[in-house]
């Protein structure tokens, strides 16, 4: 549904689908929050100078509670980072967006869509299970490696990825 919301904002939805989005917006608070978030991201990306700070109550409350930290912090441990990912998703998305804008690439990307998906993906990632590399993963890796430009530049060396016995990493 969030894809549809993003498409609706870009005026890319069929009338029937648009009606469904409007109905969902009336019904679902999460959708209304997403609507506000997407506009904030859009404002940042377009550098309008007007930032929709009329955010949801939850966000405002969290912002008010956030202490101003003036001392450098020690890096968080990975486990904490994963737990914090979900909460940090909104700010991380804005940071990612700001980064894209400052790279001078804003006109090349579908700004709102990327920002919106970075945000929803970051939130989703925090809740996804990690699975170990299995026989299917290795088969896929072997099939993939042929098309990786790293094979063009390094020959057979990058095939080590397909047979490496190293463990999997936590997501950063």
């Amino acid at each position: 549904m969030k894809y549809d919301l993003s498409a609706f904002m870009d005026d890319e939805l069929e009338p029937d689908a648009a009606k469904a989005v409007l109905a969902e917006l009336k019904r679902n608070k999460e959708m209304r929050d997403a609507w506000l978030d997407y506009h904030l991201i859009g404002d940042v990306m377009r550098q309008t100078g007007i930032i929709t700070l009329n955010l949801s109550e939850g966000f405002r409350d969290k912002l008010a509670l956030e202490p101003a930290i003036l001392a450098p912090r020690r890096p968080m441990r990975t486990r904490t980072k994963i737990a914090a990912l979900s909460a940090a998703a909104s700010l991380a998305a804005v940071a990612a967006v700001a980064w894209v804008v400052l790279q001078g690439n804003a006109d090349k990307v579908k700004e709102d869509k990327i920002a919106a998906t970075v945000q929803s993906n970051a939130a989703m990632l925090a809740s996804l299970p990690r699975y170990p590399f299995n026989s299917t993963t290795r088969e896929y890796l072997l099939a993939h490696q042929e098309f990786s430009p790293s094979t063009t530049m390094q020959g057979v060396a990058p095939y080590i990825r397909t047979v490496s016995d190293g463990g999997e990493e936590a997501n950063r």
């Binding site: 990327i114 699975y131 590399f133 896929y140 099939a143 430009p149 060396a157």
Partner: protein, 324 residues
């Protein structure tokens, strides 16, 4: 977090001003030189593959003769494993299961394989900068930086031997400029004859117990799979669409590959047998990120590539059946 964000906003212009991008021709010329050297030179040496706290050491041999290219990669620590490539055929020797996996390249491109359109594609997505000279494995190297223009891909640092262009070290960096994966020669000989014995697999695969797994074959590259991506990602172009047989899978798997010239992302769509529960999850190892998710109830999508997790997730969530 807030302070970090503000820092980032102020730091970026400074970072961007600090290094001036080289005229594209210089960087592109070097990339072509690297690609050519990898396929035209004889060399042998030891290299390390590293991500997180994991380090693996390998012996690599590459030789070119009248019959083409021959390469062998032997992993020296942990479980023994070998990869032997003869032109368009890759064989993976896994003695722990007495298996030889055979993968035949289906889209063999003439080398040097960095074609002009791929190089143009590449400068759309990365800023190419020439760096200083540095010494790797006793050789003087020209360094190159490829900085991503957005968050969809990793940055790359390359160290190419100054005379031949052979790539002696390569690292990939995330958005915080931290190394996610690195490959580096620690000892190397460039040029000179290579003893053919060094290129042969050491395992007696014709003896009892060993078996060949020939499943890594695919249909002609132009096969339409009926699957597509709703929101193609900036800078990534589709370079392959095919159906392939994968060992252990009863039905053919659709395989679509996107590339930005430096990183590739593969999308695999697999029909689920009735009663098989679809899976949703992620896996990560070095620069490789993998995302698996169900689509259309009866199918499972797996997206993997040397790109950030967000990129594979974005592509995976955007896969749909075109109905063709």
């Amino acid at each position: 977090m807030k302070i970090w964000l503000v820092g980032l906003l102020f730091a970026w212009p400074a970072i961007l001003l600090a290094e001036t991008p080289a005229p594209p021709s210089d960087g592109i010329t070097w990339l072509q030189k690297i690609a050519t050297a990898a396929h035209e030179l004889n060399y042998s040496g030891t290299f390390i593959y590293q991500y997180g706290s994991h380090v693996e050491t390998s012996q690599i041999v590459h030789a070119v003769d009248s019959t083409g290219e021959h390469e062998k990669l032997e992993i020296l620590n942990g479980v023994p494993r070998e990869i032997v490539r003869n032109n368009d055929e890759v064989q993976c020797f896994l003695p722990s299961t007495k298996t030889v996996k055979v993968e035949k390249r289906i889209q063999r491109k003439p080398f040097p394989a960095l074609l002009p359109e791929e190089l143009n594609n590449l400068s759309e997505s990365y800023l190419i900068k020439m760096g200083d000279h540095e010494r790797i494995a006793g050789f003087d190297c020209q360094t190159l930086r490829l900085e991503p223009k957005d968050g969809l891909r990793y940055g790359h640092r390359l160290w190419a031997e100054s005379n031949s262009g052979l790539l002696l070290k390569a690292s990939m960096l995330d958005e915080k400029n931290e190394v996610v994966e690195q490959m580096e020669f620690t000892q190397l000989q460039i040029g000179g004859p290579i003893d053919p014995e060094m290129l042969k697999p050491q395992y007696p695969v014709k003896s009892a117990g060993w078996h060949y797994d020939l499943s890594g074959q695919s249909e002609p590259a132009s096969t339409e799979t009926g699957w597509a991506v709703r929101n193609p990602l900036a800078g990534f172009k589709k370079i392959l669409e095919t159906k392939r047989v994968i060992s252990g899978k009863p039905a053919p798997i659709s395989h679509i590959v996107y590339s930005d010239g430096l990183a590739a992302v593969s999308i695999f769509i697999e029909p689920l047998a009735s009663g098989v529960k679809p899976m949703k999850g992620v896996a990560k190892r070095g620069a490789l990120n993998i995302y698996t998710t169900p689509v259309d109830e009866n199918y499972q999508v797996t997206v993997l590539g040397e790109v950030p997790m967000m990129t594979v997730m974005e592509l995976g969530n955007s896969v749909y059946f075109t109905g063709k």
